[in-house]
């Protein structure tokens, strides 16, 4: 019998095939576009052939760079990931501390919440010159850009999450004789950590964005540096694999964070599945 479309579910196999379809279509569209352009101009750099892409990948990933002797892709990834990790770590720490303080203590909330709210609306790119002067041009300013880009949102998010904890729990802890510090440390903090990971996952995309922006402005290595450098001679054969690689990295980091959260905070995810 014919069912409504909202009641028809694909089987596992069909779902997998369907899920791959858009990727295949994109690939085909690319291959077609590339061929058309290359037929018009064999030197065209905009949509290189798959073979050129493969060659470029091999070159950047496996052959030592002529000038520096490094394996370029890995060196760039290492530089970028270090910056990213530092930025994410600092932002998380800030968000955790501020989120807990504003979420739990009404006076701190009154003082900081409006400021954080406004701060989260400031476009960080626009105040880059000040960042440079204050934090120098080195690694620090790149990390600071990431932090400035994502921390205010994370702070607001965590404040919200802390305030969403059922007030019953806080009352209960008080009736058990806990003081504010103990409630923070033993009741609120542990429950905030998985929510912090959630927030971090949401902010991975923006963090990569700010990383790339920072590296585009002043750097000696890094994924964003490379993309903006080779953009000078329209080397899409390098840019495209880098974009795919960044996407993959973001994807894997997201998966890893989810895995960590499930492993470290099983009670959080059990609860979620129930709800």
């Amino acid at each position: 019998m014919k069912k409504r479309v909202i009641n028809r579910f694909p089987g596992q196999g069909a779902a997998a095939v369907l899920g791959l379809l858009p990727f295949l279509l994109l690939l085909l569209a690319y291959a077609w576009g590339s061929q058309v352009r290359l037929e018009a101009n064999p030197e065209d750099k905009l949509l290189p052939a798959m073979s050129s892409l493969a060659a470029a990948v091999e070159r950047v990933a496996l052959e030592p760079n002529r000038r520096t002797g490094e394996l370029q892709l890995w060196a760039d990834s290492a530089a970028s990931l270090q910056r990213l990790a530092a930025g994410l770590a600092v932002a998380s720490l800030l968000a955790l501390v501020t989120g807990l303080a504003t979420g739990m203590v009404p006076y701190v909330r009154a003082a900081l919440a409006p400021f954080v709210r406004v701060l989260s609306m400031v476009p960080p790119m626009a105040i880059l010159p000040i960042l440079f002067i204050v934090f120098g041009l080195g690694e620090l300013s790149k990390v600071v850009l990431i932090v400035l880009g994502i921390a205010p949102c994370m702070m607001r998010d965590l404040q919200q999450r802390v305030m969403e904890l059922p007030s019953e729990q806080l009352v209960k802890a008080q009736t058990l004789g806990a003081h504010s510090g103990q409630i923070l440390w033993r009741v609120v903090l542990p429950q905030t950590l998985p929510r912090l990971i959630d927030s971090l996952r949401l902010n991975l995309g923006p963090a990569f964005l700010f990383l790339i922006a920072a590296e585009a402005i002043a750097a000696e290595s890094g994924l964003g540096y490379r993309i903006f450098l080779v953009r000078r001679y329209l080397a899409m054969d390098t840019i495209l694999p880098y974009v795919v690689w960044i996407t993959l990295l973001a994807f894997l980091m997201d998966l890893a964070l989810r895995g960590v959260s499930r492993w470290a905070f099983p009670w959080f995810h059990q609860g979620q599945e129930r709800a």
Partner: protein, 264 residues
Amino acid sequence: MGALLEVKQVWKEYGSSIVLEKLNLTVKEGEFCTIVGTSGCGKTTFLRMLLGQEGPSRGTLLLDGKPMPAEPGPDRGIVFQRYSVFPHMSVLDNVTFGLEVTRSRLLGRLFGGARRKAREEAAAMLAQVGLGHALERYPSELSGGMQQRLAIAQALIKKPRILLLDEPFGALDPGIRADMHALVLKLWKESGLTIFMITHDLKEGFKLGTRLLVFDKPRLDAQAPNRYGATITYDLAIGRDEPALLDEIQGAVTETSRFIHDSR
């Protein structure tokens, strides 16, 4: 022995709406007061005042002859209908927590022998409520009834003088509820606690309490439903089955209930 709790001419208002008015009550140590009343008539608000979360707008609330503390404290335990236990702690940790926070003021954590001892105490408490076999589970792995047992154990480990229960069994199915009744009665008899328990179920109130408090609005004004607050309209010592009285109360409460909900 004097009164444990004295409520004298207490009013509670939120802005212009009056929730409770002219509340008077004296409760002695060891009583088991069940509280019934239609939804929204201020039962939870009253419990919050006993907890110290809210102060009265007018009137006085005395605990042991002294003004009620302005904050929750370990002398008054509580069990809510939901969210009473800590989801990130195992069953055993949930109960040990209450011991740790007073025995280790700085960290809220015990180590070594002190820890072992606290855990043993907690395990003994859990055995009493029938959770001896589930010490290492997380609350999300427990059924609703087991969670409420855990919440009770958690409260009792602090040996509070007063135990406040806000519809503790409202979400449980009737069979399990009967078991919980037996448990609460047992614990109350053994410990000499003073209990205030809110319930929606008048029969439950009759069955468990030594004293039944009915919160109801004595005056209803269809134009301004929040013009008059609720107060205690029946205050009965119980111990016998009184079907006629039960029906009478049920009738009165239902009428208020209909009135409030239709005039919203």
